[in-house]
């Protein structure tokens, strides 16, 4: 096909590059249509990847064969594991990235992929016929056809940027908006709505008084995001610090002067902004009792002269921003490279997509990323990957990929989007995952690598290595349950740590359940047989296995409870509902239940259970009805 591709991806942001990469890896010809080839994987906002819950997403994307983790590893200039003082389920990796290098690395990967053609164009229309997508047309008048189109155009649809009362059209600083797509989709029957997000001003590095600011360094032994990154040569780049400062009353007073000219407060901005990422003016108004707000000064890159002021997102007039900045400790003489701004854009309330991210209305059309109402690079990447895999799977005849809530944050993300829709930008949090204790960053590979392998995104060698590791893990768990430690050997040690002694013998598992004792600490005292001693020693040297075994033993009771809950709900999750079910004809449903079910068209009873407004008697009615 000269003018056609297996898959068209619109937009080379974090969603788009994952989608294109996955499709290409699965053997499809992919056109990645994007406005600017050098803006691939560009970080629109803060120069960082990961963080609480987002770090989990990155690890999951990696286990499925995505490129975000590796890209972050190669371009990271500070790595930290957040929440280390808490339990393993909420540890979250995060890094500061070199914004420029990140984008270059993404470009390198995409442009090296033989199956991807980067087309530098702006799409203005998505075309469909008979309920199926047929292609797109571009601003230069080209028509490109394909039976699979993934829309991942980010914050660009009818994008409008605001600083004070000055607004300009555009999807991101210095970039044009995307016009036409929303309208073409509205004509096809899609609902769209408006959201808003913002970004802080960028500061000139050399004009900041670093000496007086509190430093925040990275971890002493930084860990990579990707399972596939070679730890012996990691980190790849020199590591740098962030710095912390605070606003105070004087800063707030200045900002208040700009409220009359705030596009937010004057109602110029109609879109709904993220509550978890409020602008500094929002914080001052809503939490007026708070006298100061913490700000992070984050480097934009190793060789960049710009600093990103995390926590100071604003759309107040530029002169007010500047005046307020100079009141902040350490920024007395700062120069502002670029003011902060807010951006408003169209999205498609995500109940319009299915769990595969294919739209329910138009076959072959997929939505991924910010267009589904999410915000964040990681959320975008996760969706792009799932959309890419599903688009390709449909073409090459593989089964669809639907990841469940009990398998991954990605499952939670998509299930939330589809089942609850959203009217504000959606960000991932660990508290959204009801099976949080099971969905850890340390076991993303154990949860998901199998899918990466199944769809051809993960090498067989890597997959086999995991399978072998699983065998060792279960052997080691049995070993710890069966092997006893003698009081003679360990009591002296327990004493020295002022811990209570054991009576005669105790299994390794039982000892390890004590909060104060680590597994490797206990393993040292294995002394029953030579064979056991050797096994214990080997285990102590195998970090990957040791970590999994220790978690499984220590938190056994809790993990089991979550497992039991999954089993309890399994019947519901696996009872599927045809998309074609006519809810209007089921008279016994409650009025609200019927309306919600009809809107969301859940795939399974499990999904229906999570829809607010659907009562338990509705579920019972559905169960009976489906049986007919």
């Amino acid at each position: 096909m000269s003018n056609g591709y297996d898959i068209i991806v619109i937009g080379g942001g974090h969603a788009g590059i994952e989608a294109a990469h996955a499709g290409a890896m699965m053997g499809c010809d992919v056109a990645l249509i994007t406005m600017d080839r050098f803006a691939l994987g560009r970080m629109s906002c803060n120069p960082a990847i990961g963080g609480t819950a987002k770090g989990h997403l990155v690890r999951e994307v990696d286990a499925l064969g995505g490129i975000m983790a590796g890209t972050a590893d190669h371009t990271g200039i500070q790595f930290r594991m957040l929440n280390r003082s808490k339990g393993p389920a909420v540890w979250s990796p995060r890094c500061q990235s070199d914004r420029k290098l990140y984008s270059e690395e993404a470009y390198r990967i995409i442009s090296n992929s033989p199956n991807i053609e980067i087309v530098e164009e702006s799409v203005v229309e998505i075309l469909a016929a008979g309920g199926k997508v047929v292609g797109v047309s571009t601003a230069s008048g080209k028509f490109i056809n394909s039976s699979a189109v993934i829309l991942s155009s980010g914050t660009f649809l009818n994008g409008k940027m605001h600083t004070g009362l000055v607004s300009t059209t555009g999807g991101r600083y210095g970039e044009k908006p995307s016009l036409g797509i929303t309208e073409s989709l509205s004509r096809l029957g899609f609902l769209s709505a408006r959201l808003k997000t913002g970004t802080p001003p960028r500061l000139k590095k050399t004009t900041i008084n670093w000496e007086i600011l509190e430093e925040q360094a990275g971890d002493d032994s930084p860990q990579p995001f990707s399972y596939r990154t070679d730890k012996s040569v990691f980190p790849f780049l020199p590591q740098v610090s962030c710095f912390i400062t605070h606003t105070d009353d004087s800063v707030h007073r200045v900002l208040e002067k700009g409220f009359d000219n705030s596009p937010m407060f004057t109602g110029l901005i109609k879109g709904v902004g993220p509550r978890y990422c409020p602008s500094i003016e929002d914080k001052i108004v809503r939490f007026s009792e708070k006298r100061q707000h913490q700000l992070f000064l984050e480097p934009e890159g190793l060789n960049s002269d710009q600093i990103y002021l995390n926590g100071f997102s604003t759309s107040l007039p530029a002169n007010i921003q500047f005046e307020a900045l100079r009141k902040i400790k350490g920024l007395e003489n700062v120069e502002m490279v670029r003011p902060g701004y807010a951006v408003e854009y169209d999205y498609f309330p995500p109940h319009q997509v299915d769990l595969t991210l294919e739209t329910k209305k138009i076959a072959g059309l997929y939505f991924a990323g910010q267009v589904n109402g999410t915000s964040g690079y990681e959320e975008a990447a996760a969706q792009g990957l799932v959309a890419g895999i599903n688009a390709a799977a449909k073409i090459i005849g593989k089964r669809e990929l639907v990841i469940r809530r009990n398998e991954a944050y990605i499952g939670v993300l998509i299930d939330d989007l589809v089942g609850k829709s959203t009217d504000e930008p959606y960000r991932m949090f660990t508290s959204r995952a009801e099976y949080r204790l099971l969905l850890r960053q340390d076991n993303a590979d154990r949860r998901l690598l199998k899918y990466g392998y199944e769809y051809g995104l993960i090498d067989k060698a890597i997959y086999n290595e995991l399978k072998e590791r699983e065998i060792i893990i279960s052997k080691a768990v049995n070993f710890c349950n069966d092997t006893k430690i003698n009081a003679n050997f360990i009591n002296a040690h327990l004493n020295s740590r002022s811990l209570s002694e054991i009576d005669s013998t105790e299994t390794i598992s039982k000892l390890c359940k004590r909060p104060e004792l680590g597994l490797s600490e206990v393993l040292k005292f294995v002394n029953t047989t030579e064979e056991n001693r050797l096994f214990a020693r080997a285990l102590m040297e195998n970090d990957l296995v040791l970590e999994q075994v220790e978690i499984e033993l220590k938190y056994e009771g809790y993990l089991k409870r979550q497992d039991d809950m999954i089993k309890k709900l399994e019947k519901y999750e696996s009872t599927s509902i045809p998309l074609t079910l006519n809810y209007q004809s089921i008279k016994a449903l409650s009025a609200e239940g019927r309306e919600k079910l009809n809107k969301i068209k859940p795939r399974s009873i499990g999904q229906s259970l999570r829809i607010s407004g659907v009562t338990h008697s509705d579920i019972a009615v559905l169960l009976v009805y489906l049986k007919n």
Partner: protein, 451 residues
């Protein structure tokens, strides 16, 4: 939430009708659970399907509850297609209730209306033609949650549970804040503060749980057996309380042969009065049967009015017999016919005359006191009267106790959160609300987070 994996139970016969009640238990734990409250010739876990077993139901302290017949139906050859046990007990609602209470202490929950039939349908035990009927049962059921509480009583409970749930969500928000926003400069919750909050919620739940006896009294009424030797004036007392001559009164001992049942309402509480045959040794077959029924009435009553004739004096031996059949605090001793007596010392007990009405007010006060206890419930108190709500509150309480253990063992917040979230879910079930988004909404409205 309707969990089809749960083992469920409910009365299979209409309440209070018929000589025999049947309690049905269905689910994969049905046999184990039934076995744990049953004493027969063999363990029913060893028995074959479709066999009937005679034995006793006993409680955890081995107290006798009732003689029963227990029938085993193993999956898939049962009404629901699951393992089913049917317990046939005496047709007294209190016995049935007691057996169900025992089951609920195990891993069993009360069935939702229509749930047995629904399971039967889902397991292909009933045919398509019956599907419509199933749907009718399901939808006509009063949704067991308090969403749009129907009456004032439910409204008050719904309100209290909402308040409890909100304070639980607040506590949970503090924990979640620390997990999802650890990088922010917000204050986190100290462990002893956390314990304090959880303990307070437990205390409030206990108050609600304690109201259950009262709630049940309000809903089901109080069974009162009027017991005593022949001719002491039991029927006269019944008539006086009813303010009509319902029972035949005569000076011949042994007038009343069968149990006479009547109801009166005192201050909104329904008292179900059972006038019985006077108890004495007799060779008369009919009278013997009457005494047997009197005994049954005693076993099944919440309250026994033990009537004596002041002239004949207090009947020590009958009291001892009573104590075999019911608890001490359920017996109110009454000394009747004080109008006839000139004795100065009339002994212990409430002195009345069923003829003149003297002392009856005292008796009524005592009856109220004994059933409602000294607890101070008013029209404004939240009261639990529905067993499902009671069960949800118990489960919430258990989760909170787990949470306290986790806090004390210094587990990190995400572990404690599991328990608190479960507790919030259980409370949410009472008022028909699901938790998921509430915690985040709460955080965003209360804390300045986000960079």
């Amino acid at each position: 939430m309707i969990h089809l994996e749960d083992t469920i139970t409910a009365m299979a016969t209409p309440n209070g009708v018929g000589a025999i009640s049947i309690i049905r238990i269905s689910g994969n734990k049905a046999i184990d659970v039934a076995d744990s409250i049953f004493k027969g010739k063999m363990h029913i876990t060893d028995a074959n399907t479709h066999t009937v077993h005679y034995g006793k139901v006993v409680d955890a302290q081995n107290n006798f509850i009732d003689d029963v017949l227990l029938t085993i139906f193993k999956a898939p050859n049962s009404y629901t297609g699951e393992d089913v046990i049917e317990v046939s007990c005496h047709g007294n609602p209190l016995i049935g209730q007691k057996i169900i209470d025992l089951l609920l202490e195990k891993d069993v929950r009360i069935a939702e209306p229509g749930e047995f039939t629904m399971r039967a349908f889902l397991n292909n035990r009933i045919d398509l033609a019956q599907a419509e009927a199933v749907i009718d049962i399901i939808t006509s059921r009063s949704d067991a949650s308090l969403r749009g509480a129907r009456n004032q009583l439910d409204g008050l409970l719904s309100n209290s549970v909402s308040i409890l749930r909100n304070s639980l969500l607040d506590t949970l928000s503090f924990l979640e804040l620390e997990l999802d926003f650890s990088e922010e400069d917000v204050e986190f919750v100290a462990k002893d503060e956390l314990l304090k909050k959880i303990t307070l919620i437990i205390k409030k739940i206990d108050e609600l749980l304690n109201s259950y006896r009262f709630g049940r009294v309000i809903r089901d009424g109080v069974n009162v057996a009027i017991i005593g030797k022949p001719n002491v004036g039991k029927s006269s007392l019944l008539n006086y309380l009813l303010k009509e001559s319902r029972a035949i009164v005569s000076s011949t001992p042994g007038t009343t042969r069968d149990v006479i049942r009547e109801e009166i309402s005192i201050d909104g509480v329904l008292f179900k009065l059972f006038d019985t045959a006077g108890i004495r040794l007799s060779e008369d077959i009919i009278e013997k049967e009457g005494v047997r029924r009197s005994n049954e009435a005693i076993v099944n009553s919440d309250l026994v009015l033990f009537v004596n004739d002041v002239e004949q004096g207090y009947s020590e031996d009958l009291y001892d017999e009573l104590r075999q059949l019911t608890k001490e605090d359920r017996i109110i001793t009454v000394m009747n016919k004080i109008d006839l007596s000139s004795k100065s010392d009339l002994g212990d007990g409430i002195k009345i005359s069923a003829k003149t009405g003297e002392g009856i007010d005292n008796l009524i006060d005592q009856m109220k006191q004994s059933t409602l206890g000294s607890a101070n419930y008013s029209e404004k108190s939240a009261i639990v009267s529905n067993i499902r709500h009671f069960q949800c509150l118990c489960s919430a309480r258990n989760s909170l106790s787990d949470a306290i253990v986790s806090v004390n063992q210094k587990y990190s917040g995400e572990f404690i959160a599991v328990d608190l979230r479960n507790a919030a879910d259980f409370l949410g079930e009472i008022i028909g609300e699901v938790t998921s988004e509430d915690v985040l909404n709460n955080i965003f409205s209360k804390f300045c987070v986000g960079k």
